[in-house]
Structures are given as C-alpha cells and as structure tokens.
C-alpha cells in the first residue's frame, strides 16, 4: 500500500488502481469551479442564489445545453456543425409560418401543433440530411460542408420570412412548449432533462452511440471492423440537426414568433459550451455530461456577471479568459494530477 511517490496523506486512500481522493477532486474540478463561481457571485449580490434566479439559470441553461448536446453528437465524430445557428433560425421561421397558416386555416389545436412541429423538425432534419450526405458520402470536411449549409440556411430563413419576424403564432404553441410544465418543472427544463437522459442512453447504451465514439476515435479502424462509418456519420449530423430543431421550436415558443435571426451566433456558442465542458474536438471524448456542464458553466458565468453588473465589454473579456481557464482545468483533470 505504501507508495512512495504519492502524497503521504493520501497513501492509504485507495489501492493503486482506484482513483485517489486527489484524483477524484480533479475529476470534479469543473463542478467545483461552478460552485465557487456561484458562491463568489452571491457574495456580491445575494439574489444570485435566490430561488427565482436559480430557476432562471436552469431555464436559460436548458436551451444552450440542448444545442451543446447537438454539437456534441457530431464533435464526437471529429466534426462540428457551423450551420446549427442558421438552422435554428430557419426552423423558427418555418415552424412559425406553418403554425400561423394552420391557425389561420382554423384547424384544431392538435392539428396546428402537429403541423408546426412537423414543419420545424422536417426542415431541421433536411438540413441534417444535407450535412450528413455531404460530409459522409461526398467526403467534404465538416467545416466546409456546414459552412455551406450555414449560408444556405441563412438564405432560406431570410427569404421565406422576408427578413421580418413571423407573427401569428398561436398562443397555444407557447402555452405548451414554453409556459407548460411537468410536475411543476417548466417545459424547457423538463424537455432538456428528458432529452439529456435519452441522449445519454443513446450514447452509452446503443450500438449507434458506441459507434459514434469508435468512429470518432479511429475512423479507419472502425471501417476495417465493419462498422458502417458513412451511415453513422450521416446519422450523427441528422441527430444533431434534429436536436437543434427541437431547441429551435422551444426557442420559438419562448419568443412567440418566428425569428429569421434567432440562431445568430449560436453555432459557436454551442461548440464553446461543449468544449468548455470537456468534449474533445479531436473526437471520441465527451458526452451528455460534458455538454450540460459546459452549458451550465457559460450560463452561470454570464448570469452572474449580469446580476453583479459587470460592464458589457468587460464581460466579453472575462468570458474569453474563463473559457480558456475552464479548459485548462479540464486538462488538469484528465492528466489526473
């Protein structure tokens, strides 16, 4: 048991193979940083830890977490999706137009809702199919492929909406997807938790999820081992855009209108959140946990800075520094110091 090179206080902690207390602490570095951050902010303004604000943070996190999870699916395969933001805009506009048209046509509420959801998810999946086919079957690098669809989605979103918010979304839509609640949990949070659980099951418990990690770690080995690499890649992009579309529908319910610029800078924000949480852009490492953790981190940071009244430009600088520090912390965790 006595291991000369490990710190004396911890030498008895565990057999050499199990993680030591110190390693466990590093494992939890990011969550600990989160708590420290929250406590720090609440020292400046006690409202940060108030129930109202915590709920607010949870709600804000749920959207970003959803998008970060979407990115994680493709980042696992060594890709990323630059078109996520514009896809969100496109879905928002398309679903709002469908909802408005259906409501105007006097369809039953269920039919209106179904039509809106179908239109949104449909166009989202179409974007995913485009990315998937171009990346997997045409062999174009994810950057170029999704930069292409980024431009296309922007064009489609502004063209079909005429560049203006799409009005006339029935209240019903927001009542369900925004104001609704499940056992007292607001809809957005409930949906995000549900998606997180399902995606976690998919990533860890299904052949598809396993394949994502294997393909991301070594695509050639995966191909030699007979995994349908192209199909897996295409499905990853499809799933990514599907999740993005779901997020877009929730955001549309939040705004109550179709917004041609809703996605704006979401692509990078979502990638950043995923990466800060510990997802590796080199593929094969990360998961639902890293995505959610990253989203929480970024959200708490900006919420805290807002509540403690830090100037806008200073916030940008702080955010930049913290993003780097977050990842340094994560690396320290990995190297298991």
């Amino acid at each position: 048991m006595s291991d000369a090179s490990s710190p004396p206080a911890l030498a008895m902690a565990a057999p050499s193979n199990a993680p030591t207390l110190r390693q466990r602490l590093w494992q939890a570095a990011l969550p600990i940083a989160l708590v420290v951050l929250l406590l720090g902010f609440s020292a400046v303004d006690a409202r940060v830890l108030g129930l109202a604000n915590l709920l607010n943070v949870a709600q804000q996190t749920s959207y970003l977490a959803l998008f970060a999870m979407a990115q994680t699916v493709v980042i696992l395969t060594r890709g990323f999706d630059l078109s996520l933001g514009p896809t969100v805009s496109m879905v928002s506009v398309a679903s709002a137009m469908a909802l408005a048209a259906a409501a105007a046509a006097g369809l039953s509420p269920v039919a209106v809702l179904a039509l809106g959801l179908a239109a949104g998810l449909g166009i989202g999946l179409a974007a995913g199919a485009f990315n998937g086919i171009v990346v997997a079957f045409l062999g174009v690098s994810p950057f170029v492929a999704t930069l292409g669809s980024y431009n296309i989605a922007i064009g489609v979103a502004t063209t079909i909406s005429g560049g203006r918010p799409v009005q006339g979304v029935p209240d019903l839509f927001s009542d369900v997807l925004y104001r609704g609640s499940v056992f007292g949990v607001p809809a957005a949070i409930a949906i995000a938790i549900l998606v997180a659980l399902l995606l976690h099951l998919v990533l860890t418990g299904t052949v598809f999820g396993r394949s994502l990690y294997l393909v991301g770690t070594n695509p050639r080995a995966a191909a030699v081992a007979g995994l349908p690499v192209k199909r897996i890649l295409a499905l990853a992009y499809l799933l990514c855009s599907g999740l993005a579309a779901l997020g877009a529908l929730m955001m549309t319910a939040r705004t109550g209108s179709g917004e041609p610029n809703l996605g704006g800078s979401l692509s990078l924000q979502a990638i950043a959140a995923a990466v800060v949480g510990g997802t590796s852009l080199a593929g094969g490492r990360g998961g639902v946990g890293t995505a959610v953790l990253g989203a929480l981190f970024v959200t708490i940071l900006s919420n805290g800075m807002n509540l403690t009244r830090i100037d806008g430009y200073v916030q940008m600088i702080v955010l930049g520094v913290i993003v780097i520090l977050g990842v340094v912390l994560d690396r320290a965790r990995l190297s298991g110091r």
Partner: protein, 513 residues
C-alpha cells in the same frame, strides 16, 4: 544480479545506465534498470511485450525523462537529455512507432530536426544529394521524393532506419527494425550492422525473433516487468534459457504442430486485380481446416490481396467466392456477416481505437450480433461477460478489460485484436503479419490460437513477411511477386530454398522480359 564480466582492460562502456526508473499513471514501466553498452557491441534487449524495452529506449533517446537513475554516455554524466541533445551526442534511435511525419517526403523526414540550412533558409540541393547517397549506400529501394503516407509500412521502416543513420552515429538503437521487413531488406540491414560495429558504433537491438538474436547479439539483457533480470553473453546462452528468463517458464517449441485437414473450399479467388494494380490477375484459394500461407517480398501485393478480399481495396476485375457463393463487391461489414474477418498489420492505424477500453475494441466487430445488442440497444452486461473470459484466455496483461487499449504494449494490443475473432462465428480468418512485434510467448499463444481455429474447421490465411513463420504454420504456401502468384508450394516442396528460389526465378524472368 549478475553481469557478464567486461573484458579486462576495457575502458568505460559507451553507455552506462544505472537505476533507471520510469512510472506512467498506474504502471511502473521501468524499475531501477541498469544497462551498459560498449562501443562496437550489439546489445540485445529481450523481454516480453510490456517488459519496458521501448520505454527504456525512449529514455535513452531523450524522449521521456526518467523519474530516477543516472545516465553516462561516453564517459560523461548526462543531466537533462532532450531529443535534440541525444542526436547531437550521437544517439540515433529507430523507433517502434515510427518518428515519421506522414505528410512530408522521405527526404524531408530524413533531415527532420537536422536540416542543412543557413540563416533559417534550407539548402535543398545539399540535402537531396545526401539523401540519395545515403539510400543508395544502404541499398534500400526507397524513393526519397515519395510522401511517407504513400509508403507501405515496410518502406516506412526503411525510411526510419535511414533517418537514424544520417549524421554521426555513436549509439544506434533499433527497436524491432525487422518487424515488417522481408529477407532481402533484413539482409541489407544486417550487413550494415556488421559494418557499423566494425566502425565502433554501439548498437542496442530489440527483437522478438530468436534467429536474429542468435545471428547478431554479443550480449543480451533480459527485462521482465520493468526490471533488469540478467545480462548474458550471447555466445554461451541457449534459446531455451533466454526464453525461460524472459517468461519465467519453459517454452520448448516455437511453432505448434498443427494437424491440417483440408476440407471444403472456403475462399476461392479467380483472376483478381485491384484498381491500383498492386494485385494483378491472382488465382488463389483457401480450404477449411488448413492454414494457407502467403509470402513475398515487400510491396509484392500480398497484403493488398487479402485486403481486397475483405473489401478494403477497390477491385478492378476478377471473381471472389466465399463458401462457393459469388461475393461481389466485398465490404468489411458484408465479409464479417459471411464469416470472414481480417486482422490488419497496422494495429494502431487500422485496428484499434486507442483511447477506448479493451472491451469496446474487442466487441467492435460484433456489434450487429444479438449477443451484443438487440434492436440497437447494447447488452453491456453480456458484453462484459463475453469479452472478459476471452481476454483471460488470451492471457492479456495487465488483466482487466476496462483499461484503454492505448496503454497496452504492442503484443497485448495484438491480443485484443485476436479477441475479436472469438466474439463472433467466423469461418475464414485473414491474418496480415499476425506476429509483428509480439514476444515469443505471445507468438506461441497466437499460433496456438490459429491451431485451434483450423482444427475446429476454420480456413486461416496467413500473410507474413517472416518466412520461418509462414513456412512452419501453413499447409500450402503461395509466393507472390509483383502482384502475381509466383509459386504454390505444398508438402515437401514447401522449403525456404524453394520460396527464395521462386523469388529469384521470377526476378530473372522479369529481367528477361
């Protein structure tokens, strides 16, 4: 710990290591290792996979700083050794995992880190000439302008060796240099080694091939579990003793006696050509219950042949039949479904997902089976229950299937690959260089594994550059040359002389044409 006594009156050895210790997370890779190497001596490092040979070499060449121990080179105490410094003082390593940059040319790689330049500007002409000279001098068939990622592993090995020999060499380190070379290149390398020894260069040599150790070694140091076991004089030690020191047990035979019982035709290839022309009009077949060997010089297309059958090389023409049924076009997934599996030579690039656990790597080829997944949902408990015993059976070390494959030694990585063969019902096994880089004990296990497979009625195809291996294992042996079958040898015809002769015949015929 005993050492072979140094010849009297001999000055201090070229290299003297004492008490070298190196720890990786969770693994003590080197535990107080002593080693000395004299000028003009070839010193073999011998040990099982994971014994710490490569780690020791990495320490000597400045890649890893040791955690403890002292280092003297040429009579001088060396403090902090960096790769640059090591090269400057004449330590030249040939790494097991090559130190080549795939996107650069051979020539650019040869000079990497030691470019001829003035004021930061490269002197390309000088370097080109020097590279040409060196390759000619070594007698390698290597194009200095070729990009490394266009080369076969064998040619990459040549480039790696050439790289080490550029510049002033006082201590040459060769980590399994012949693992993917064939007889001819191996012969060239041995001539070179002899010359360097005459010039007073010290050589550290790692190999799992007894024949080579016999032929080359002056002294042998045996490592086990990161510890120095013994240093012996090669002239006075027997193979059996070495193997016993290495493994801690007796191993009498290297190749198991395999009872071949050729049965139904499992794989039948007619007039097969690949799109890139490396395989041209090959006819060949493999029967159930026998091992079919394929031998040939480097670049003859023997790997491409089985890769094409498995579905990894685009096919230009010809016909493949698996169990009598036409198979067109092949793809890895379909091959596995039909019971044919391929075990690639390059395990890092094509075989394994290094950062994933052993368990996932082993079950990778069988995720479509109901025993591992139903309706796309993994059965993780069943997976653990299946993979665990398989790895135990293959004597994976260290045991345990949740460790990342990247932390295993070369031989153990090979075992993980072999483990795949046991995760699904297979009838045709295509092995590409199955024993590259694995130790004697592991080799025996691999051969035993093949023996069990054929004796259970499977068809096994072994592609190998190691002639003794294919000769001993196979029932029938094909010799390939320039993408064609040069000979098919069976029974008493299947001798080393005949194989070499058929290379030779073919060459003469080629020259005449």
């Amino acid at each position: 710990m005993e050492r072979a006594p140094a010849p009297a009156g001999h000055a201090e050895p070229l290299l003297r290591l004492s008490g070298i210790t190196k720890r990786f997370t969770g693994v003590l890779a080197l535990d107080g290792v002593d080693l000395d190497v004299r000028a003009g001596e070839l010193h073999v490092l011998f040990g099982e996979n994971g014994a710490g040979k490569s780690t020791l070499i990495n320490v000597i060449s400045g890649t890893f700083p040791p955690d403890a121990g002292s280092f003297r080179f040429n009579g001088e105490e060396i403090g902090r050794l960096s790769p640059q410094r090591a090269r400057q003082i004449g330590i030249s390593p040939v790494f097991q995992e090559f130190s080549l940059v795939p996107s650069l040319t051979v020539e650019e790689n040869l000079f990497l880190g030691r470019e001829a330049s003035s004021a930061g500007v490269l002197k390309s002409g000088a370097m080109r000439r020097r590279a040409r000279e060196l390759i000619d001098e070594l007698g390698f068939d290597l194009d200095p302008g070729a990009r490394v990622d266009d080369l076969s592993r064998a040619h990459q090995q040549m480039a790696e060796i050439a790289k080490a020999l550029l510049g002033n060499v006082r201590l040459l380190i060769l980590d399994e240099p012949t693992a993917s070379l064939t007889e001819r290149e191996t012969g060239r390398l041995f001539e070179l080694i002899a010359r360097l020894k005459r010039e007073g260069v010290g050589i550290i040599y790692v190999s799992h091939r007894m024949r080579e150790i016999r032929a080359l070694a002056d002294r042998v140091t045996v490592l086990r579990d990161g510890r120095h076991i013994k240093t012996l004089d090669a002239a006075t030690v027997t193979d059996g003793e070495l193997v016993e020191l290495m493994t801690g047990r007796r191993i009498d035979v290297l190749f198991p006696a395999i009872t071949h019982a050729p049965g139904a035709m499992a794989l039948d290839v007619e007039n097969l050509s690949t799109a890139d022309g490396t395989v041209a009009g090959v006819n060949f077949h493999a029967r159930a219950g026998e091992i079919t060997g394929i031998a040939g010089l480097v670049g003859c297309g023997k790997s491409e042949l089985v890769r094409a059958v498995y579905g990894l090389e685009p096919i230009a023409g010809g016909r493949i039949r698996l169990h009598g049924k036409p198979y067109d076009p092949p793809s890895p997934r379909a091959s596995l479904r039909r019971g044919a599996a391929y075990f690639p030579a390059n395990r890092v690039a094509e075989g394994l997902a290094l950062s994933r656990p052993i368990r996932e790597n082993a079950s990778m080829t069988a995720l479509d089976l109901p025993r591992f997944a139903r309706a796309g949902i993994l059965k993780r408990r069943a997976e653990r229950a299946l993979v665990g015993p398989i790895m135990e059976r293959l004597k994976l070390r260290p045991a345990g299937i949740e460790r990342a494959v990247g932390n295993l030694s070369g031989g153990n990585r090979q075992k993980v690959m072999l483990g795949r063969a046991l995760t699904r019902e297979l009838t045709v096994f295509l092995f590409d260089e199955p024993s590259v880089g694995i130790d004697v004990g592991a080799k025996l296990e691999v051969y035993d594994f093949m023996k069990r497979l054929v004796e259970a009625g499977a068809a096994v195809v072994v592609v190998s550059s190691e002639l003794p291996e294919v000769l001993a294992l196979s029932n029938r042996l094909y010799v390939m040359h320039h993408g064609r079958i040069a000979a098919e040898l069976e029974g008493p015809d299947k001798t080393e002389t005949n194989v070499l002769a058929s290379f030779f015949r073919e060459q003469r015929a080629g020259a005449a044409a």
